[in-house]
């Protein structure tokens, strides 16, 4: 398990990096924390001619708040967020997500931009940032553009990045006033890849809600207007009105044909909703027989 030969460069500025990205012939891979690319290289699942290390670009490591929007450079690590080394505008939602990503050694090195650009459906940020209605900032030589995370992740390990482009930052809007956040994932064991993720941002007073079902085979399933999941209305009591059948239908339409898989996703979604807007009293399952 050793990688095939490749060249390695670590540009010191964004223009230099984008120049190399535009000019390099053959296959190029960007590396930041290397938590996904490292194993893929070692297993020879990818054999790039050139690996460009992007951690030498200072601005990619920066984090700041711009008019209430949190801007995270692509190389901000999960641990930076977990440990509160970057500002927060989400009422702790980002911190909670970050602190449960894989294992601490992975969080020390893994980056938010790398995770998103890798676009593994089971990755936390893919679902969480979609639910938070975040945007990505994309740069190529001499050009920049922004797009919603929901549009950026186009499939399993697929994104809207074009040749010569890279993800440079995340733009995360502030949590709306009165919004409730729920995030639940189901893993076979702590730290492993998720089998189901649900991220919900509900605004009971405004009657709005945004729901994401992730760790599916393709991009996460976004329900940008979650009202149908609650019979058409979102309010403080909505956890009790969550309609499993609607969730099943949405997932079936998204291509999830396996009823066991759907059951797990719907369960996780129900729990994320209950976490965001708890029911009045804990429920005890009576013995059935």
């Amino acid at each position: 398990m050793k990688p095939a030969p490749f060249a390695w460069e670590r540009p010191a500025s964004l223009p230099a990096l984008l120049d190399r990205l535009a000019e390099a012939g053959g296959s190029v891979k960007l590396i930041a924390g290397g938590q996904s690319l490292g194993p893929m290289l070692n297993l020879r699942l990818v054999e790039p001619g050139l690996v460009l290390d992007i951690t030498g670009v200072p601005e990619l490591r920066e984090a700041r708040v711009e008019d209430g929007t949190l801007v995270l450079g692509a190389c901000v690590t999960h641990a930076d967020i977990e440990d509160g080394r970057v500002p927060d505008t989400t009422g702790g939602a980002l911190q909670r997500v970050a602190s449960a990503i894989a294992y601490r050694p992975v969080r020390n090195r893994g980056t938010v931009g790398g995770s998103l650009a890798h676009a593994d459906p089971a990755a936390d940020w893919v679902s969480a940032l979609t639910a938070l209605d975040a945007e990505v900032e994309i740069a190529g030589r001499g050009r920049r553009r922004r797009m919603a995370v929901a549009a950026f992740v186009t499939g399993a390990l697929e994104t809207a990045l074009r040749p010569g482009e890279m993800l440079v930052a995340l733009r995360i809007p502030p949590m709306p006033t009165g919004a409730a956040w729920g995030y639940v994932k189901h893993c076979a064991k702590i730290g492993e890849f998720a089998h189901a993720i649900a991220a919900v941002r509900l605004e009971p007073e405004a009657g709005r809600g945004r729901v994401v079902i992730g760790a599916v085979e393709g991009p996460p399933v976004l329900v940008a207007d979650a009202r149908p999941l609650f019979g058409g209305r979102i309010g403080p009591d909505c956890a009790g009105r969550f309609l499993l059948s609607v969730a099943h239908t949405i997932l079936r339409e998204a291509g999830l044909t396996d009823p066991v898989v759907r059951h797990v996703h719907v369960t996780v979604l129900a729990r994320a909703i209950a976490q965001a807007v708890p029911l009045p009293a804990p429920r005890v399952v009576p013995e059935a027989a």
Binding site: M1, A4, L244, A289
Partner: protein, 784 residues
């Protein structure tokens, strides 16, 4: 004496270096001029080799079967009647029979470059239908792994002890139960470094091995080199569990390569090789019927068991040890009058099945203990009641069971009673009835086993495999300054022998544990031994060390008596001193006299001096029978299939405990692996025989969060047959957990009508079973 002898809970001496990262493993060995090997392995499970294309640039760096002139395939033949022999080629010839089979060997200054070369070798293979399902493999018309056999069965066996008498029992419960294929997954994989020592005229093989002497036997056979020209050194080994008790084709290939190239060569197994090509184990299938009275008393057990033995018979344990053992050990710790068991050891296009901690016992315990719980449910009894009615009772000891296993000692019902009391069954049942605030379901599970350990000549001669243990030997040598050196042919790789054998010696000689060194893992420096396997070393090497130290003590007494101007019979040995009528002399003075002042010795002194090699066998070699009752409480999330272990109690009887701390460590480590078997670990295959887990992201091992600390209670009934009454305990911790945990899950899910009969009990399987049972899952009620 000084509290360091048998029974002292000493911290392990070896941990000082191991925990500081100062252990020396095969991967730490650096030799001048050493080059690395990467193998080209078969990407297909079953295929004919049409051609192997090697780029011209690498002709002198790539070796195939055609180069291995005179090298013999690995043959692990069993003497059991009608056993079919497989020949495992060192590098594939004609056909490949499993994914990962070695096809070519590539040599380069670094592993990465060797992998580059391996990637450039192109295999032209004609794919054949893969035999990947052991039950289908037994059917006529199945593709054949070894064509000349005519079928895919290494060995079939049948035991029938009056099963007809059980058939009219009022309770009859039949279940199909199976255990998934696993990988052993020690932290350190296999690794071999070979170089030529021209001065000694030896091929020196550094390899991570539990049994260096057996490796030498096997290498000598395959390479056709006399044994004196091979030296095996097994340095620190990062976990064995049975995987390092096997001679690998890689080992043979590396030896040939070193002879051919003349410079040191190295192969270090990577995790992908480990998972997909080598370390497989455990895959059993049972169709089992229990016949019982309404009060739970067993009338008989009838079983058809199939073991997926893989493509080749592995050296030295063979492809049938596991399957044939099933028939003899399935009855477990229970006493019942009728029994039938038919077994098949089946060849498939998968890795050879290798003996993993507990060997066949984990599988049979799973089958039997699950069916006992099914009997309890059918009869309306508690799981503990069914077991209480059937366990062998203490007054029956020593007891010869239905398959003529000789249980040496113990009180099995007391182990169960203590476990029930420790876990507080009444409180668990009350909690279960009350329900959990979070909606999870509580389940209680039991499992009891007994384990034949340290079984010797008479047992293994019956299997007729290439390795039959005889007398175990140990050497003991006093150094001139009064220290002690012990030499054993077995190997310590987690068992703590550097400490515990020093304790045994201390018990006899009084030499401080800190002044006693254990030399092991080197055929050039140790007596012959079959090695460390079968929970045998504390019984066998412990007995041998004691015997050698006793002989040493007797010689020391004679020397000491002379120094005290007394007769030997007037002297006694006490606390490391020879004590005579007028005074005493310490062992260190005796040692100094023997080595440095021989002029002070008597003229008729024993010329053997202060170095003794002695052999040992227990009074009977049919084995010690350690046993344990495991009791577990789980919380099951029936919607997601998540299982949390809330409490785990183990009441075990390992006879006299030489070091209770080490025993606890062995049990806790076994439990971790048992939890892996129960809930996480599985190597699955697709219909073409492709292994589907090639990294530890796919092959899930339990981690710290999944392995609770067990509450361990010791009974310590001495074995009547061993030197100190000690019993083998190395494997037991891994035997019972899968059954106990699955029983607990089934107990939790019983109200929903779901029953899980395959290990590992994964979240997916639980949800599937719950949904299939047609139960209204809680999330549906949530929606209401």
């Amino acid at each position: 004496m000084s509290g360091e002898g048998v029974g002292a809970p000493l911290p392990r001496k070896e941990d000082d270096r191991l925990m500081r990262g100062r252990g020396q493993y095969v991967g730490d060995i650096r030799l001048a001029g050493m080059q690395d090997v990467a193998f080209v392995r078969s990407p297909l499970a079953h295929a004919r080799i049409r051609a192997i294309h090697v780029p011209d640039a690498y002709r002198d760096r790539v070796f195939t079967a055609a180069d291995l002139d005179g090298v013999q395939p690995i043959r692990a033949v069993s003497g059991l009647p009608d056993f079919k022999v497989s020949e495992q080629p060192i590098l594939a010839t004609g056909k490949v029979r499993q994914v990962g089979e070695l096809v070519a060997m590539c040599l380069a200054p670094t592993r990465a470059e060797a992998e580059d070369i391996a990637a450039s070798v192109i295999l032209d293979l004609e794919e054949l239908p893969a035999v990947h399902d052991m039950l289908a493999a037994r059917e006529t018309g199945a593709a054949l792994v070894h064509e000349h056999w005519g079928d895919n069965v290494y060995l079939e066996s049948l035991v029938d002890i009056d099963i007809a008498a059980a058939l009219d029992a009022p309770i009859k419960v039949t279940r199909t139960i199976s255990t998934g294929r696993q990988c052993m997954a020690p932290i350190e994989g296999r690794g071999t470094v070979v170089h030529l020592d021209h001065r000694a005229d030896q091929l020196v093989v550094h390899t991570a091995s539990q049994m260096p002497h057996i490796v030498r036997n096997g290498l000598s056979e395959c390479l056709r080199i006399e044994q004196g020209r091979i030296r095996i050194v097994s340095p620190d080994v990062g976990g064995g569990f049975g995987y390092k008790a096997i001679l690998l084709a890689e080992d043979v290939a590396l030896c040939w390569l070193a002879l051919r190239c003349g410079h040191p060569v190295r192969w270090l197994e990577d995790r992908r090789e480990h998972l997909t090509a080598n370390a497989n184990c455990r895959e059993h299938h049972y169709r089992i019927t229990a016949y019982a009275e309404r009060d739970g008393r067993l009338r008989g057990i009838d079983c058809e068991a199939t073991v997926d033995s893989g493509a080749y018979s592995a050296y030295p344990f063979s492809a049938c040890l596991e399957g044939a053992q099933v028939a003899s050990i399935l009855p477990g710790p229970y006493d019942f009058p009728s029994y039938r068991c038919r077994t098949w050891s089946v060849a498939t296009n998968k890795c050879p099945i290798l003996p993993y901690r507990g060997v066949a016992r984990t599988g049979v315990c799973f089958a039997l203990e699950l069916v006992l719980d099914a009997v309890a449910r059918e009869a309306g009894l508690t799981p503990e009641a069914v077991r209480e009615r059937n366990l062998v009772r203490p007054e029956q000891m020593p007891f010869e069971n239905i398959t003529r296993k000789h249980f040496d000692s113990g009180d099995y019902p007391q182990a169960l009673a203590r476990a029930l009391s420790a876990i507080d069954v009444a409180a668990v049942r009350a909690r279960q009835r009350a329900g959990e605030p979070d909606g999870r379901r509580i389940g209680f599970g039991l499992s009891i086993y007994c384990e034949q350990a340290a079984h010797g000549t008479s047992v293994y001669a019956g299997w007729g495999i290439p390795m039959v243990p005889g007398h175990e030997q140990a050497s003991a040598r006093l150094t001139p300054d009064g220290g002690l050196e012990l030499r054993i042919g077995a190997h310590s790789h987690g068992q703590g022998l550097e400490t515990t054998l020093a304790q045994v010696a201390h018990e006899i000689l009084g030499v401080p544990v800190s002044r006693t060194r254990l030399v092991h893992g080197d055929t050039a420096m140790t007596p012959y031994s079959t090695g460390s396997w079968g929970s045998r070393v504390m019984v066998m090497a412990g007995g041998a060390v004691a015997t050698a130290c006793e002989a040493l003590r007797d010689r020391a007494v004679r020397i000491g008596a002379h120094l005290l101007q007394a007769k030997p019979e007037e002297c006694r040995f006490e606390g490391g001193h020879v004590v005579g009528p007028t005074g005493d002399v310490p062992l260190s003075t005796i040692a100094r006299t023997w080595y440095l002042r021989p002029q002070d010795l008597a003229a008729d002194t024993d010329a053997g001096g202060l170095e003794v090699t002695a052999g040992y066998k227990p009074v009977r070699d049919s084995g010690t029978f350690s046993y344990a009752a495991h009791a577990v409480v789980v919380a099951v999330d029936s919607d997601l299939g998540a299982v949390e272990i809330l409490d785990y109690v183990i009441v075990e009887d390992g006879g006299t405990l030489v070091n209770p701390l080490v025993v606890d460590g062995q049990i806790q480590g076994g439990l971790a692996q048992g939890i892996g078997t129960a809930l996480f670990e599985e190597m699955t295959f697709d219909g073409r025989g492709q292994p589907l887990a090639s990294t530890l992201a796919d092959y899930l091992l339990p981690g710290p969060a999944e392995v609770p600390m067990a509450r361990i209670d010791h009974m310590a009934t001495p074995s009547p047959y061993t030197r100190f009454g000690q019993k083998g305990i190395g494997e037991g911790g891994a035997i019972a957990p899968p059954a106990a945990i699955a029983n607990a899950i089934n107990d939790a899910l019983a109200p929903l009508g779901a029953e899980l009969l395959h290990s590992p009990v994964t979240p997916r399987r639980i949800v599937e079973a719950v949904l299939a049972a047609g139960s209204v899952a809680s999330s549906d009620r949530e929606a209401a």
